[in-house]
């Protein structure tokens, strides 16, 4: 069970969240070529190691957040709001492993 720190709600169980895929992919502009749009939807690195990804706190505050996770060890290095427009959370949005020590 991953323990993910929602910047607003604190450390919560993975089953409150839903996975939203690679957050580093940039959505092309409207005028982008079909190739760019194709890559945006279908082309992904299958990276072993640090991965920046979207999660939604679906069964919580419903915020989309950006999580930096190691795809091999599941270590989570950072979590942050996906949207710069949302009010800042009370948490630091940092660390996890579910443990503050």
């Amino acid at each position: 069970m991953l323990r993910i720190e929602c910047p607003w709600c604190g450390v919560r169980n993975e089953d409150e969240f839903s996975y939203g895929g690679d957050a580093s992919v940039q959505r092309p502009a409207d005028g982008g070529s079909l190739d760019e749009w194709y890559d945006y939807v279908y082309t992904r690195d299958n990276s072993a190691g640090q991965h920046t990804e979207h999660w939604q706190h679906l069964n919580g505050c419903r915020a989309w957040i950006t999580v930096v996770r190691d795809t091999i060890t599941h270590e989570i290095f950072d979590t942050a709001p996906a949207s710069p427009n949302l009010p800042p959370g009370s948490g630091s949005g940092k660390k996890t492993n579910g443990v503050k020590s």
């Binding site: 991953l2 323990r3 839903s18 194709y38 419903r62 579910g98 443990v99 020590s101």
Partner: protein, 997 residues
């Protein structure tokens, strides 16, 4: 009844509380505190089952959850539980157990003939022996193998008990309550840390109860009891006894099973059978002990051959003598204790056989003092006997070829050394490393917040266990942020140092071939491992899969390291080069009921009911599930009324008069803010910038890959206020989709929105008389001029505030009334009353579906995640001069080329024959069986009361240009072929004049 093998005194059992139980129909007596295994041994019962593959007689080898052999069917009826270890079943009065995998009886088992055919059943036999002819596999071989192999049978009735799931946070979790665990828990708790200590047994103490130790001048058993009492008195300690930690998961999450009621005939009222804990400790101290390895020699699976430590445990914990003439065979110092304990219990120890040439002198002296013979440099080559051990043959471990030495005995206590229980450490993501000095794997570098101590770390001396517990508990508390003082040390009497010289497999007498079992539960022999390695399956992972070693319900607790060592020898490499497999949860089998917990039966899924549900129920409506919702499907008027009668009547009532349907289940999303129009413009393929206040519009959403996602109407309620509806099925996904784009792609848009699905009751009033009905109760002008098609207005319905939409799914003149859900039933009743004289009636989802097919409205079965707007005939709505989700990818060549499945209408041209949903559309030259040449399929069917014939919607290759064509609809499953005509998907009122009337 006599318990011939029960000691007169000693053990953690209560001789004043005799319990009676039956095994294979025969009644026996045991005592409170016994396990089924100890009680059977006390009665001299050793033969408990037949082995998996060869049906060899098997007995009890261990004294705990590592037991590979002694599995029984426990209890009867609905509570019957197959493959349960006799060594972990706490005895209760009236317990019933039966042996398994034998026929017709345990003593005479027909399938034991497999033992003679064993050359056919070697490693990989499934893949080799039963290959030809191919048809024989399903028809013959599989049935025979399934009958011959296998274990107990499961209960066929539903489990009458319930299971519970609990979560708990703590600072320090201590796994195991042996000497190291007890010290660690007290030490951490003394710092003020919140501690959970979990142990498999009812009583805390672990090896202190199994062994004949002294701590702080009192017996180990009494010392453990005192510590347990101390812990029970601390309010920052939670003791979880009868609890096995079965899994160490990511981010320090721990799974545990508490056997709440397994030790009683049935759970007390309100008590679960078992409880699954999810624990969230800051630090974990693993004091899970170690598991002894058996020596590998010929026929080492004979009943009467046991682990040396198990023999001690039966004597010390349960006061049971597992035999009367014992041989202790070992390659290490630890098993000497067994000889001494056996001797003290009055069992004749014929000899201690130590494979090492030079056993430890102090131990030799101890044996000498008791006049027990010590035979060094030899080991057991083979055991002999029928259904029980009769004698062993000793062979030299030094390469001497003298005749084997025969010794008569009925008990062998064997030890090939100890394996630290590194399971949880490995599950946490760490890699155990090989330690030459103890010839086993020990914990490596920690990856999570855990530390192993005591025997689990490879420290087998009692004083070390106590000291490490004291230090580790304090350290874990400190790391969790606590300050305090160390508790006093405890001092142990036992001072024997552990020493071992590995002996992985014994030479056989005269080098003859014997079955030397490694994994007794899956009947994997040393020769199977040799064979696998010879055939190229020589990596540890391949070996496991090829031979099934370690894949039984005991997960190879007693066999893994032995198998690995034999593989290493075969490869001619040191053990660390060969490596270990990864240990995976669960450590012990976990009943499925625990994972389900309370989410069974009606609690499996929440049920969503609309505000009109109770009324529907009173009317005798038949319901249908739509996701979690229950929707009224049709309204029978008499017991004889069929589904067909009802939806035809309800459809006719709507098309000819006026009828009402509950549409509250549609997803509803309230959207506000200055940028809503722009937001909608990007979400939907059509235009939203110029929607006036008080108007609704139908919209289509695509996914980013260009495929249609959802459809529905959105209404502009005010300047910056919109109200979206989605399909029932996609209500939640659409909301998440909108949140995703708003929060990640377009944070600059100033909009807010939330689901209001449950806040509003929706009632559609449809039919040519719907306006007339509403005029009785609505306070606004409903004339076509004042309130045209797609108009919206706020109004009062009698005294209820309502939102009124002029939208239609039926294709008739229709309105949708929304009221706050608390007024939903009242509004429904008032509408019924308003239309009573006109003969208004309710209709269900079946009539709703019929009318949508007649109107060619696409729904879930056409929005199947593959169709584009073009396929659905909706591309005309798209405004390609603006940006919208899926705009570019919907233009990929494959999505706009020829051969796409496009929505069509379908009519049967064979009178009286009904169409079938899912039928394939094929050319008439195609044979019934060849649906591989399918050109499409039927997605929805109904009998159209308006047209008087069966109609359907379907998806057909290039369907939009094939109207008028005839084709076959085939259903090979039903051996059915019907001639159909392809037509426009809108069957009635193609110009949509009725909705605008």
């Amino acid at each position: 009844m006599s318990q011939k093998f029960r000691c007169d005194e000693g053990g953690a059992i209560d001789r004043r509380k005799p319990l009676s139980f039956t095994f294979d129909g025969k009644t026996y007596q045991g005592y409170e505190g016994d396990t089924l295994a100890s009680a059977l041994l006390a009665n001299g019962v050793h033969l408990l089952g037949r082995s998996f593959k060869y049906h060899r007689p098997r007995g009890i080898m261990c004294a705990g959850s590592e037991e590979p052999n002694a599995m029984v069917e426990l209890r009867t009826g609905a509570r019957k539980e197959p493959n349960t270890r006799a060594t972990t079943i706490e005895l209760f009065d009236g317990l019933v157990a039966n042996s398994q995998n034998r026929w017709p009886s345990l003593r005479f088992d027909v399938m034991a003939v497999n033992n003679l055919f064993s050359p056919l059943l070697s490693a990989g036999f499934y893949y080799k022996t039963f290959m030809w002819p191919v048809s024989f596999w399903t028809n013959v071989y599989e049935h025979i193998i399934r009958r011959a192999a296998g274990l107990g049978t499961a209960a066929t009735e539903a489990d009458p008990d319930f299971y519970e799931q609990c979560h708990e946070h703590c600072d320090v979790l201590v796994v195991g309550a042996g000497p190291a665990g007890l010290m660690a828990a007290i030490s951490a708790a003394n710092y003020g840390a919140r501690v959970i200590i979990a142990d498999e047994h009812a009583q805390l103490g672990g090896s202190l109860i199994n062994e004949n130790f002294n701590v702080d001048g009192i017996s180990g058993k009494d010392w453990a009891a005192r510590q347990a009492q101390k812990l029970a008195g601390m309010n920052n300690v939670h003791i979880l006894n009868r609890t096995t930690i079965f899994g160490y998961y990511d981010h320090n999450t721990i799974g545990a099973i508490e056997k709440v009621s397994d030790h009683v005939p049935q759970p007390a009222a309100g008590k679960p059978r078992q409880r699954m804990w999810t624990l969230y400790p800051k630090r974990v101290v693993i004091a899970a002990g170690a598991t002894e390895r058996p020596l590998i020699f010929g026929n080492n699976d004979k009943p009467g051959v046991m682990l040396a430590s198990a023999v001690r445990t039966y004597i010390n914990r349960w006061g049971v003598k597992p035999g009367s003439r014992a041989i202790v065979a070992t390659n290490n110092s630890d098993a000497y204790r067994t000889a001494i304990d056996l001797h003290q219990a009055g069992v004749r120890v014929v000899a201690v056989v130590d494979s090492r040439m030079h056993p430890d002198a102090p131990l030799a002296a101890k044996l000498d003092a008791l006049s027990i013979e010590l035979i060094a440099g030899k080991t057991i080559g083979a055991a002999e006997g029928g259904q029980h051990l009769r004698y062993v043959q000793l062979v030299s471990t030094q390469g001497l070829t003298a005749d084997p030495q025969r010794i008569d005995c009925d008990l062998v206590a064997s030890s090939s050394g100890w394996n630290p229980n590194v399971h949880l450490h490995s599950q946490s993501g760490a890699k155990p490393i090989y330690d030459e000095t103890i010839a086993s794997f020990v914990p490596g570098q920690s990856r999570q917040a855990e530390v192993s101590i005591g025997a689990a770390k490879g420290s087998f001396e009692l004083q070390d266990c106590l000291d490490q517990g004291r230090a580790a508990g304090a350290e874990a508390a400190k790391l969790s942020g606590f300050k305090g003082r160390l508790i006093k040390t405890a001092s142990a009497s036992d001072d024997d140092a552990y020493s071992i010289e590995a002996l992985w497999i014994a030479p056989t007498p005269y080098n003859k071939s014997y079955k030397q079992f490694i994994d007794q539960q899956n009947d994997v022999k040393a020769s199977d491992i040799d064979l696998a390695a010879r055939e190229g399956y020589d990596s540890v992972e391949l070996l496991k899969r090829y031979t099934t070693q370690g894949m039984a319900t005991d997960q190879g607790k007693t066999s893994n390291v032995n198998a690995l060592a034999i593989l290493a020898a075969q490869r001619g490499e040191p053990i660390p080069e060969v490596g270990t497999t990864t240990f995976r949860p669960p450590y012990v089998p976990v009943a499925m009921g625990n994972f389900a917990g309370h989410t069974v039966g009606y609690q499996f899924m929440p049920v969503r009911r609309t505000a009109i549900h109770d009324w529907n129920e009173k009317q005798g409506a038949v319901f249908i599930e739509a996701g979690m919702w229950l929707r009224a499907r049709y309204y029978p008027q008499s017991p004889e009324d069929t589904l067909y009668d009802c939806y035809v009547r309800e459809t006719n009532a709507t098309r000819s008069n006026v009828a009402m349907v509950d549409v509250s289940t549609l997803g509803k999303i309230d959207i506000q803010g200055p940028d809503v129009a722009e937001f909608l413009n990007r979400l939907y393929i059509n235009n939203w910038l110029k929607l006036p206040i008080g108007r609704a519009r139908y919209g289509i959403m695509l996914r980013e890959d260009g495929v249609v996602f959802d459809d529905g109407t959105t209404t502009r309620l005010g300047e910056n206020h919109y109200f979206m509806t989605t399909t029932t099925a996609n209500a939640a996904p659409v909301l998440a989709h909108m949140e995703y784009y708003h929060q990640t792609a377009w944070p600059e848009l100033d909009v807010v929105f939330c689901s209001v699905t449950e806040q509003w009751t929706g009632i559609a009033v449809a039919g040519p008389n719907s306006r007339k009905l509403l005029e009785n109760v609505i306070d606004i002008d409903l004339s076509n001029e004042a309130f045209p098609f797609m108009a919206y207005g706020e109004c009062k319905m009698n005294n209820i505030s309502a939102r009124l939409f002029r939208i239609s799914f039926s294709g008739e003149l229709a309105y949708e009334v929304n009221v706050a859900a608390d007024y939903g039933e009242q509004a429904w009743l008032e509408l019924l009353e308003a239309g009573r004289e006109m003969g208004v009636s309710p209709y269900g989802t079946e009539a709703l579906g019929t009318m949508r097919i007649e109107k060619g409205h696409v729904a879930g079965s056409e929005l199947d995640g593959r169709t584009t707007a073009l396929d659905l005939g909706l591309e005309g709505m798209a405004n390609r001069s603006k940006h919208f989700i899926g705009k570019h990818n919907s233009q990929r060549p494959a999505l706009i080329g020829d051969g796409r499945l496009q929505v069509v209408g379908i009519k049967s041209v064979e009178a009286g024959r009904n169409l079938r949903i899912g039928a394939h559309l094929v050319d008439d030259k195609v044979k019934l069986e060849s649906v591989s040449q399918s050109q499409g399929h039927i997605t929805a069917i109904t009998f159209s009361p308006s047209l008087g014939c069966g109609i359907a919607l379907g998806l057909l290759q290039d369907g939009a240009s094939r109207h008028g064509e005839q084709i076959d609809a085939v259903s090979p499953l039903h051996d059915e072929k019907i001639r159909v005509e392809i037509c426009h998907p809108i069957f009635i009122d193609p110009k949509g004049e009725l909705v605008r009337a």
